[in-house]
Amino acid sequence: MRDDPVLLRGRDITRRWGGLVAVDKVSIDLERGKVHAVIGTNGAGKSTLINILSGEIAPSAGTVELLGQDVTAWTQPRRARAGLGRSYQRNTIYPTFTVFENCRLAAQASAQRPWRWWSAADRCPISVPAAHAAARRAGLEPLLQRPAGLLSHGQKRQLEIAMCLATAPQVLLLDEPLAGMGAEETDRMLALLAELKTGHAILLVEHDMDAVFRIADRITVMVNGSVIACDTPQAVRTSPAVQSAYLGGH
């Protein structure tokens, strides 16, 4: 394993829908131990970018490199198995399963063993402890037996992260994890993200500017599909180009 701190590398990623260019030659590096935030107005191309990095959409041009390998042609499940985790803006937890089963099923992806039809999933020696570990890390231990649909919104967002962690990924793509959260829940989530930094490379797409400036090590600003700035939070905050295009004089 190389000692390259860059775990995910996107180069000149472009995506066209007919005549419309949704993402225009975007390059991005995700380093281990760092949170890289992507901000931009609605329609700036952030969702398309994260979908291309995770493998849900194929780019019209450009490459994606994960842990040194060119994964541009890989499907999403394959990238996920190689260490790429993804959370969604809208909750994609399984509402009828318990919190524990949500985590366990996610963890099962790393050790699927589908042919052992006689052996109960609840006694799986790999996914069960991994689920406990992920739930503990996300602070969901006391809620393990509750049906996920009955959790509060903030708890559901935590579960979304826990499911991401259950597969022990090295790269995390987080799409608006703070969406719809109150102040206290936001603090808890940011503390979790700060803790997760070590050992992981995190991409954070977010609208909550305060949170972004608190936690990001690097910020990429997108407008109309192109990157207009990629720098430290301080530099981005004071950049005149960013201020006029996006922050509107903050």
Binding site: S54, E56, T75, Q76, P77, R78, A80, R81, R86, Y88, T92, I93, Y94, P95, T96, F97, E101, R104, L105, A106, Q108, A109, S110, Q112, R113, P114, W115, R116, W117, W118, S119, A120, A121, D122, C124, S127, P147, L150, M163, A166, T167
Partner: protein, 330 residues
């Protein structure tokens, strides 16, 4: 835990009841319940697809019919075939067609999938109906029923009853184990949110294809049992009305529960007997499909969770407010 205990007890009682039934029933009763048990195996095959994986297949009759036709076509013309190789071969034939149909249809989504599975079943129907292979609309007779050496002669009604009961129990047990295994939980995840499964690292297509093929094989088993019981097969065994009937069975019983397939098969057979009864309906009895159609519409509209959910629905009505959680169970 109490709820699970109750479900297990219910299923166990059903099987005990079925085992003891021939002691009190006459020839007609044994024949009828054999038919119902065959339908129950058929319904279980579809439950794996629709209830457990969320794949609404409207062409299950094709696998049933292929299993039935294979039974007759592979049996020697005058002598009984050996059960030991006939049964697996018939299941294999049905599973093989399921593999092909699944490989093509599973690339489609949602409503397309329903239409494509129906179309492929219709294709099999036409092959059997129009080509000399299937004996045309007249059908083919099974002249001698298979035997297991000198141990079992499926030509005897009681032996066939016992054998069918054993097949039903084994199928039920197999599916119960399958659904609580890692494979089964993956299917449940695919049903709940396929995109999330993919994002987590599951390649969902192979799972769905495996479920589809296994389901086809089990449907083939029920086709085999049907052919042995009736001694006769005709193209109507692949008709889409049979696909509709088995779908109704599992909805009626309750989707997402294996015992729902059992309940549904019984309920459907009883409804059929009821509406076809000349004693009650007189001249209308031959228009029994009218009653069935109205029942289907009413049951989908009024009993969204099927008969399995009736208790829960009543409880909610009486007590008011949300009932207990829905769990992933057999």
């Amino acid at each position: 835990m109490n709820a699970d205990r109750g479900k297990f007890l219910f299923v166990a009682l059903c099987f005990v009841g079925l085992a003891l039934y021939p002691l009190v029933a006459g020839k007609f009763g044994v024949d009828l319940v054999t038919k119902i048990m065959v339908y129950a195996v058929f319904a279980l095959s579809l439950e794996l697809l629709v209830g457990s994986t969320g794949l609404v297949c409207f062409g299950q009759a094709a696998f049933f019919g292929i299993g039935a036709y294979a039974t007759v076509l592979l049996s020697p013309p005058a002598d009984p075939a050996a059960l030991a190789w006939l049964l697996p071969l018939c299941m294999l034939a049905a599973a093989a067609y399921a593999l092909v149909v699944g490989a093509l249809s599973l690339r489609t989504k949602g409503v397309y999938f329903i239409m494509v599975t129906l179309a492929f079943a219709q294709m099999a129907y036409y092959v059997v109906h129009d080509t000399p292979l299937g004996g045309g609309t007249d059908g083919i007779y099974l002249n001698a029923k298979p035997v297991l050496g000198s141990l079992m002669d499926l030509g005897k009604p009681l032996v066939l009853y016992g054998f069918t009961l054993a097949c039903l129990a084994l199928t039920f047990g197999f599916l119960a184990l399958l659904l609580r295994s890692r494979f089964g939980r993956a299917l449940a995840g695919i049903k709940a949110n396929e995109q999330r499964m993919r994002a987590t690292g599951f390649s969902t297509y192979p799972y769905k294809l495996a479920a589809f093929t296994i389901s086809g094989g089990i449907a083939g088993l029920s086709g085999f049992l049907f052919a042995v019981k009736d001694g006769f097969v005709n193209p109507e065994l692949l008709s889409w009305h049979l696909s509709g009937a088995v779908l109704i069975m599992i909805i009626l019983g309750g989707l997402g529960h294996l015992r729902g397939a059992l309940i549904g098969a019984f309920a459907f057979a009883l409804l059929q007997e009821f509406f076809q009864s000349e004693a009650i309906f007189g001249a209308f009895a031959k228009h029994w499909l009218l009653g069935l159609g109205l029942t289907i519409i009413a049951s989908v509209a009024l009993l969204p969770r099927g008969l399995v959910g009736v208790m829960g629905q009543l409880r909610e009505r009486l007590v008011g407010g949300k009932g207990s959680k829905e769990s992933v169970d057999a």
